[in-house]
Amino acid sequence: MKTLPRADVAIVGGGWAGLLMAKELGARTGLSVVVLERGKPRSANDYTDGMDELDYAIRLRMMQDVSKETLTFRHTSKDRALPIRQFASFLPGTGVGGSGEHWTGIVPRFLPDAFEVHTRTVERYGAKRLPENHSIQDWGITYAELEPFYTRAERLLGVSGKMGLDPFEGPRSAEYPTPPVKMGYFPSLFVTAARSLGYHPAPTASANLSTPYRNPDGIIRPACQYCGYCERFGCMVGAKAQPTNTLLPVIARQKNVTIRTGANVRRVLHKDGKATGVQYRDASGEEFVQPAGVVMLASWTLNNTRLLLLSKIGEPYDPATGKGHVGRNLTHQSQSRAVTLFFDRPLNRFMGAGANGANIRDLDGDCFDHGPLDFVRGAFIVAHALGFRPIANFGVVPPSVKTNWGAEWKKAAIEAFDCTANMGISGEHLAYRTNYLDLDPTYRDANGDPLLRMTMDWNDNERNMIRYVSAKMAEVGRAMGAREVLTPPLARRYDVVTYKSTHLQGGTIMGTSPANSVLNTWLQHWQMSNLFVLGGSSFPQNPSGNPTLTILAQTLRTADAIVNRYAKRPGPLA
């Protein structure tokens, strides 16, 4: 095993969080920074040949190679976990830019109450309304503390939107950097109908630009062309903010930052309570030690948690006793298969972009009275024209058609193809003692390391919430003129077969004390102060809307703390 020259900071993972941290430290300090990315290099110019649904959206050409590493899944600790042999429920990214290359670009701020779910719910409804077996807790920071960093993150991306239309949005110190994107027909129907029923639709905050924009780093990106090849694709013109078009050009000028690809980090090395570096394997199979003064994990929710478990840092969560924190509070997204609407006129849905459309927050968080209801919290609801591609979307037929092949189905599916649309219901997923991550005792990855094991199932709170919200959205759908509306319930049991979102949270959660969390609110490990863990693994639970903007804001907050405090005087920040 070869030992490399020491770096001041080693960052594991070259996605949004890792590269943003590298860019900040590169620009604002003289620290030497090495980013270790296990996938391949990428540049903003890689996507000209990429408008192919089959290779990119169906065969998942840009995603993590599941043949080498996956995770196992079971519903409860009594069940036998089996490997997820093909990704479907969520789609982990890989390579430089990570999932940030093929994301959707929907960038809402979280509602202020999302950071204090436990406190606010108990205050308003009493502790007995918290679901059975929950492990909900407050984040330890407030929306107000994060607000300046939300503003900075929005300026980094050039977020398109308009303030003042959504009465539930937290106070903003600044207008969106760019005006809202143009709206397709389907979302425009939603806006009119939702408003007529007393809801408050607003253009969805979009990282696909409405107009050309120059960000504070001098990066210029063009306006979105609404080509319909957005989520699961890299942007051909660079209108969608991606690490390769927003961060890489800045990092390329920084002499103190190095990005090393093909470097698969297997362990965080540590001695006497301090991280000393990382051990990785390169693409040829050779092992290296990268010594470092500070180690930062930014390798997505699952791998961040797995690296702490494999490196034996902190106490693994034990669901039987409730002791230990590493791996607990795993949450996904209680996404229903969404409300499906059948219209009697064409929607021209091939046009669009990931965040092209409108959303309402009237049924999100605690924006409505749950007093008489059988659940707490809610859902971020969107109607988007996100580019309706034929392989994924052909074949949806009204329930009167009882077959899914043959002449009758073909006729109905051709008629329905451009007359069908879905509302997206991103339901909040609360944390439960029974949903967690640990290491699998049987299955291993291509390097011989144990796979992560996911134990996860749905609970009544989320089932009841989706039922309620879907019924409300069916009313909106009928007001939009849909002749038929389908509202599938949340599946009886969690599955890894149908896509929900690539929003997984928890495993290395942040909190107010070592007694309730792995990290302090600066995303610094409570016991190992030169170890930081960035990204959604720090979220105590899933707060409905898309997480990337909050991940960027938190990363900027941690970067400030390192530049202003830690670099001068290393040690615990809280």
């Binding site: 397709g184 027909y185 051709i414």
Partner: protein
């Protein structure tokens, strides 16, 4: 090395059947000649190809509504996919042990797509392509719940609507019958127009748009 196999088709069967109209209605025209062409097969032999093609043509039949799997070249698409890394499960986690799970854990079988098709050919029988359409439908109904049928149905939809570089969607037949234009670089002047009325630009393939050939993933890996 395997002997080279060809699928012999008349030119009327691989496109040339449609002219594009601005409505979504495809219009049948007669092919100019009845030339026979030979498509080289990468995975199936000719008998196997005819059987799978016949099954795909019942899933997405050719009828008065418009052409189907046969004219779109779905069998050529499936043949190429099975010959590619997809066919041997290069992009699936195939570490043992293989154990039966619950449906929510997803497909846990050991069989690759090639092996699943092999099983499927046995289920369909040697004379499937010579049965009447009603007999073929009756046979397919008996295997509707098998992995083979589900994979065949999925692959048929893929072959109908993929970019033609993958072998299916010949002459953009699939996109024409549903009014899908394919990849265009920009809809910026149209996204907030045409509200409630059909906007049906002439379909174009990725090679049409870029003005050069693009290599599909199955030819790279």
């Amino acid at each position: 090395m395997r002997r080279r196999h060809f699928l012999t088709l008349s030119s009327t069967a691989v496109g040339g059947l449609l002219v594009f109209t601005l409505e979504r209605e495809p219009m049948r025209v007669h092919a100019q000649t009845d030339r026979r062409i030979r498509v080289p097969l990468r995975f199936f032999d000719e008998r196997e190809a005819l059987i799978v093609a016949a099954a795909a043509a019942r899933i997405f039949p050719s009828d008065s509504i418009g052409p189907g799997a046969w004219e779109a070249g779905v069998i050529v698409y499936i043949d190429r996919q099975l010959a590619s890394p997809f066919g041997r499960d290069k992009n699936r986690f195939t570490q043992p042990p293989f154990e039966e799970g619950v449906p929510e854990q997803g497909y846990q079988g050991k069989a690759t797509p090639r092996e699943i098709y092999g099983d499927g050919l046995a289920l369909l029988g040697r004379d499937f392509d010579r049965l009447t359409p009603d007999q073929q439908d009756a046979k397919l109904r008996t295997i509707e719940t098998t992995y083979f049928f589900r994979l065949l149905r999925q692959n048929t939809i893929e072959g109908m609507f993929c970019d033609p570089m993958h072998g299916g969607n010949v002459d953009l037949i699939g996109w024409q019958i549903i009014g899908y234009p394919g990849p265009y670089m920009s809809w910026a002047d149209h996204i907030d127009q045409h509200y409630g009325t059909p906007f049906r630009p002439k379909p174009r393939s990725l090679s049409d748009v870029l003005g050069r050939k693009v290599k599909p993933w199955e030819d790279e890996a």
